[in-house]
Each structure stands twice: as structure tokens, then as C-alpha cells.
């Protein structure tokens, strides 16, 4: 069992009546709403929160990539990853991930990830993502090529990391005469690869086949998570091996306070800022981004999406967020982790407008009173060697 602190780095100063006045927090949300002076404070505060995660005993920190959005204003997670590589000493740095189709040529990802891995002395977890739905609108990138570009880029990056250069690459989307990135990664054969997914069958099968790790994207009802993790384990079985539990991860908002009542009193409005404002207008699947069958399946699941949730009761019932006293949160999380069969918890400890002091208190209470209990009940983390052996030996 491993524990990560995940940060979306939201831009959380929006007008009170944002949801009435604006259609979306994505793609076309006017950037006149952005305030760089406040942004300066935010970026530095959010980085401090990730650095603090190392001090209090988390196994790793996570950053991710979004463009033209208040939901997460971290268009380059590699910049954040490289800062963290210098400012932390022990934790894994999970950049989940780089949206491969947007890096042209994709060997840029091979280079930048290798830089972070070398600077950090081999602490990078390389997240490779197709890119969120809204990004295809933001960059006018044709989503019907999302999968084929992604696959070609992923293969090229792994090849660039494992096969001595220079070599030629003549693919459908990129024709490169001299592939020869400097530097190469610190970890051999390459950093662990994590792939987040919202439940596309295509992604689940790809991750299972390559023996990478699958991270469930949050905000869906718990039953949808469960189905996806089951589907992943089945896909691993089909590929002739048993999934290692640390091949899967569950990304979830967490808030711990002294009592259940206090937790909700402190958290609720910040969570609803996130739900009502920052999730507004999220287009999960542009046309052609996944097969029509996957889109139809997830389209139905979207009915039970956090963005449509309006009450605390629904949040508790659906497991959209883990909120309460240390006792409540650890019992809940133990059940969920066992039910899902996951080996990584990626906690969102800051969400929406949750301020610095409450975020820090939340993280501290979790690290002191929840994490040690879950580790004791659910098992120590596998070492890197154990994990790679388990996956190779099957």
C-alpha cells in the first residue's frame, strides 16, 4: 500500500456567481479571470503543500497536466516535477501525466522525463496520458487520432528509453530520422509507467497488456470504479498474469478533521466550489476520443458523476470523497481499498478553495492518524524491486 498526495493546482479565485455567468471552467473560460499576483502566491503555496507531504511520511507526490482551465492551472507538470525533484529528497514524483499527443515530436517527453528522473536520482513515475477531453478542444487537436497518436508516441518514448540511439522512426504520425534523446533515464530499463483512465476499455486493455499501472480517474460513483478495476484485473488475466495490487491506484478527495461534524463544516463549501464551479462544463469525451461503445458506457456512468451531485448524503453514498474524523476516514478507506483491490491511494488533500491552514491540518491528521493504520491493516508498500519482479515473473 502506497500513499501519494495529488495536487490539481486549481485557480480558485472565481466570482461568486461564476456558475450563473460562465458556461464552463474549461477551454473557453476567459483568462481575464486569471490573476497572476494571486497566482504567484498559489503556485508557491501548492508546491509547499507537496513538499510538506514528504516531511510527514507520504510515499510520493503527484502532479498533472491541464490547459486553459481553472480546474487545474498546471499546463506544464514537468516544470513542477523538476522543482519537486530539487526540493524533495525521498518521495516518488509522479507526473501523471504528460498528454503525449500534444508533445511534438513526442521524444520531448522522453527528454523531459529523463531530466526529472536524473535530477531526482530515479524518483520519477512517468505518467503517460491521452490528454483530457477538454484539451482536444483547447488545442483544436483532432480527437479521432487521440488513440493512434498516443500509442505511437508511447511506443516511441519507451523505445527511445530502452534502445540505444540514434535510430529512425517512421510511424503514421511522426517521421523522425534521428531519434537519440539525451539524457536517458536514471532508472533502468525506464521509470515506472502509470496510465490514468476514466474507464475506456481501450486504455484498460493497453495498460494490462504492457504491464504498466492503471490509475482510476476520480469523480465517478464507487460502483463504476469497482467495475473498472475488475475489468483491469480481468484484462491482466487475459494477458496471462495476475495483476499486482500496486498496479492500480485510486484517486480520491480526502478531508480529515477532529470530528465528522467538524470535517463537514470545514470542508463542504470548498468541495462544492470545486463541484459547482471547477467541474462545470467538463467535456469528458470529445467525438472519436474513445470507441462509441466506451463513450456510450461512460455516458451512462456520467449520470452518477460528482459534477451532478448536490448533497452531502450523495457524496457519502457514492464514495466521491472521504470526509470525517480519523476513525471514520480510516474505516471507510480500508473498506474501499479492499473492495477495489487497489495498492495506491492518491489523495487530493486540497480541493477548490480549501485554504492553506485547513489543507495542512488535513494532511497532518491523515499522515498521523489514518495512514499508519491503513498501512498496518493493508500492508507495507512493495519495494520497487518487489514490484518489478512480481510483474516480470508472472
Amino acid at each position: 500500500m502506497r500513499f501519494f498526495t495529488f495536487h490539481l493546482m486549481p485557480f480558485n479565485k472565481l466570482p461568486e456567481d461564476f456558475e450563473e455567468k460562465y458556461e464552463t471552467a474549461w477551454t473557453t473560460v476567459p483568462n481575464s479571470l486569471y490573476d497572476p499576483v494571486y497566482g504567484h502566491e498559489l503556485y508557491n503555496r501548492f508546491l509547499d503543500e507537496l513538499i510538506y507531504a514528504e516531511e510527514i511520511g507520504f510515499d510520493g507526490v503527484c502532479v498533472n497536466e491541464h490547459h486553459q482551465s481553472a480546474y487545474g492551472h498546471m499546463p506544464s507538470p514537468n516544470l513542477m516535477g523538476s522543482i519537486l525533484a530539487r526540493q524533495t529528497k525521498r518521495v516518488k514524483i509522479a507526473v501523471i501525466g504528460n498528454a503525449l499527443p500534444f508533445y511534438d515530436p513526442p521524444t520531448r517527453v522522453a527528454e523531459e522525463f529523463a531530466m526529472i528522473d536524473v535530477i531526482s536520482g530515479g524518483r520519477l513515475i512517468a505518467g503517460m496520458v491521452v490528454g483530457g477531453g477538454p484539451e482536444y478542444y483547447s488545442f483544436s487537436m483532432n480527437p479521432t487520432y487521440a488513440r493512434s497518436k498516443y500509442q505511437e508516441a508511447l511506443d516511441l518514448i519507451v523505445r527511445a528509453w530502452t534502445e540505444p540511439g540514434p535510430f529512425e522512426h517512421y510511424g503514421e504520425h511522426w517521421k523522425l530520422r534521428h531519434v537519440n534523446p539525451w539524457p536517458t533515464p536514471f532508472q533502468k530499463p525506464h521509470p515506472p509507467i502509470w496510465i490514468p483512465g476514466a474507464g475506456s476499455k481501450e486504455t484498460i486493455e493497453l495498460v494490462a497488456e504492457r504491464r504498466y499501472s492503471y490509475m482510476g480517474i476520480p469523480y465517478f460513483h464507487k460502483s463504476f470504479f469497482k467495475k473498472n478495476f475488475d475489468m483491469f484485473r480481468k484484462a491482466c488475466q487475459k494477458n496471462g498474469y495476475k495483476a499486482h495490487e500496486e498496479q492500480t491506484g485510486w484517486l480520491v478527495p480526502i478531508y480529515v478533521a477532529e470530528t465528522d461534524e467538524q470535517a463537514w463544516a470545514e470542508y463542504e463549501k470548498h468541495l462544492f466550489f470545486f463541484i459547482k464551479k471547477l467541474l462545470k462544463g467538463l467535456v469528458v469525451f470529445p467525438p472519436g476520443y474513445s470507441s462509441p461503445k466506451s463513450i456510450a458506457r461512460i455516458g451512462i456512468a456520467l449520470k452518477q458523476f460528482l459534477g451532478n451531485v448536490t448533497t452531502r448524503e450523495e457524496i457519502e453514498e457514492g464514495g466521491y470523497a472521504m470526509v470525517g474524523s480519523p476513525e471514520t476516514v480510516r474505516e471507510k478507506m480500508k473498506d474501499y481499498v479492499q473492495d477495489f483491490g487497489v495498492g495506491n491511494v492518491l489523495g487530493l488533500f486540497q480541493i477548490g478553495t480549501l485554504p492553506a491552514d485547513l489543507t495542512k491540518k488535513n494532511m497532518t491528521l491523515f499522515a498521523e492518524q489514518v495512514l499508519p493504520y491503513l498501512r498496518k491493516e493493508l500492508g507495507e508498500p512493495a519495494t520497487d524491486e518487489e514490484l518489478s519482479q512480481a510483474l516480470a515473473a508472472n
Binding site: P143, T144, F285, P287, G288, K293, A296, I300
Partner: protein, 261 residues
């Protein structure tokens, strides 16, 4: 009255292509819109009273295969060059609605001698810089209704598109969106080179446009009537993008008048 219709698959240069043929009279090719109206609808039936209507599904739409070999609207146009050969249609009139209108223009540029007359309905393919197009790739059904129809509460909407993920037409609709995105995501629903080639289309062209089309503004029709060598324009008041659904009788009458003298 029901016309005799036949749905079948034909092989077009290796692409398995769904085609429905119905009616009696002179041949007419109907090239469908992004909405993917590849099933026989009310206005196809009305057209079939006067014409033998050929209704093919573009690759990627309906049960037509071959989207993996389509990378631009020109590939669709070449597909129709091949389809005319397979159907042994030497010269034929074409009715093209929206995406189908764009395809018809590209086809007429490649093979002007094969197209006798062309009727364009709220056609895609052209971008007018001061008349911005709407967002077809929204996944918000309510927004799409107001984008596409003059009356967002019109009962004809039910005919034209699924209204929820539970509708059994949803898979076909998602396929239609994927295929449209393949050729129309970027550049968005147009070919920046098309205006320079419109002079190559010598045949008579009748252009119909809904005055309240929020997807492809009526200014596009006004541009086309000037840019095409031999075109006339009819603007339908109180009509949106989905003109053949919204004004089926008038649409069919326009086709009949234009094609049968």
C-alpha cells in the same frame, strides 16, 4: 404511400458501404449531413415520390466501414468518385446537406463532368471570418437543440437525433460524430482551400439556407451564391440548420422544381 426501398452493402474500392435505394424516377444522390441521416426518413420518402433516391452512408457513418482510410474531406470526395463508378452513374444530380454539401462541392471539383446539378442545403465547407460558426462538438443536448433547430422544442427533433444515452440510436450518433470530427475538427468544418476552387464547378447549383442557422450562418450561403459560377440562393425564414427536417415539404418541392423542369 411507401416507396420500394432496398438497403444493401456495396464494395467501393475495398470499403464496405451501406446504401439505401428507393423510389422511382430519375436518379438522385443524397449526401447526408453530420447528423448521419442514413436511415430512410420522412423527407427521403417524399423525395422518392419523384426520384430514385440513392442514400449512401459515408465511411464511418451507419454501417459503412473504412473511416481509418479517411483523413480529410477530399478522401470522402474520392470515395464518391469511386461510388459513382460502382453504381455506373455517369452523370447524376446531387443533393448535399451540411457535411454532405461540402462533400458534394469537393466531388464536383474533382469530377465536374459527373455532376449534372447540385442542390446544397446549409452546406459546410466554407468559413466566413466575420460570421462565426457554432460549436457542433458540444456534448450538451440542450445546447445542440438550440444550435440546430429554429424551434428547440419542435417535435421533429425526435426524428433527427437521440435525446439521451439510453436511446438505442446513440451508438450510430456517436459514430456519426466521430466521422464528422475526423474530417471537420481542424480546420473546423471547412477547407480553407475550397473558395479558390469553386470556379471549377460549372453545373447549375441551387442553394437553400435556413435564415436562423446558428451552426453555419446564412452569410455562408450568400458567399457561395457569389463564388459559384452558376448558382441561385433561397433563404428559408424561421428555419435553422436542420432545414430538411424543419421544412420537409418545401425542401422536397425545391428539389423537384430544380431537378425536374
Amino acid at each position: 404511400m411507401n416507396s420500394v426501398t432496398e438497403s444493401k452493402f456495396i464494395d467501393v474500392r475495398g470499403k464496405r458501404t451501406q446504401i439505401t435505394i428507393g423510389g422511382e424516377g430519375p436518379a438522385l444522390i443524397y449526401l447526408h449531413s453530420a447528423g448521419g441521416e442514413v436511415e430512410w426518413t420522412r423527407f427521403h420518402e417524399m423525395l422518392a415520390q419523384y426520384f430514385t433516391v440513392y442514400l449512401p452512408a459515408h465511411p464511418g457513418f451507419g454501417d459503412s466501414r473504412g473511416l481509418e482510410d479517411i483523413h480529410s474531406i477530399t478522401d470522402y470526395a474520392w470515395h464518391y468518385v469511386d461510388l459513382l463508378d460502382v453504381l455506373e452513374l455517369e452523370t447524376v444530380p446531387v443533393v448535399g446537406f451540411s457535411l454532405g454539401g461540402w462533400t458534394a462541392m469537393e466531388l464536383a471539383i474533382l469530377r465536374p463532368e459527373r455532376i449534372s446539378k447540385m442542390l446544397l442545403v446549409n452546406s459546410a465547407g466554407i468559413r466566413i471570418s466575420d460570421a462565426p460558426m457554432g460549436e457542433l462538438f458540444s456534448d450538451d443536448i440542450e445546447k445542440l437543440k438550440s444550435l440546430l433547430f429554429y424551434d428547440p422544442n419542435s417535435p421533429v427533433i425526435e426524428e433527427a437525433m437521440p435525446l439521451s444515452y439510453e436511446d438505442n440510436r446513440i451508438l450510430m450518433w456517436l459514430k456519426a460524430r466521430e466521422a464528422t470530427a475526423r474530417v471537420g475538427w481542424n480546420p473546423y468544418l471547412h477547407n480553407p482551400r475550397l473558395p479558390d476552387h469553386l470556379f471549377r464547378i460549372p453545373c447549375p447549383v441551387r442553394i437553400l439556407w435556413g435564415n436562423d442557422d446558428h451552426l453555419l450562418p446564412v452569410e455562408t450561403g450568400k458567399f457561395l451564391v457569389d463564388a459559384l459560377p452558376n448558382a441561385t440562393l433561397e433563404i428559408f425564414e424561421k428555419t435553422g440548420h436542420m432545414l430538411p427536417y424543419e421544412q420537409a415539404e418545401r425542401f422536397v418541392e425545391e428539389v423537384r422544381k430544380f431537378l425536374i423542369n
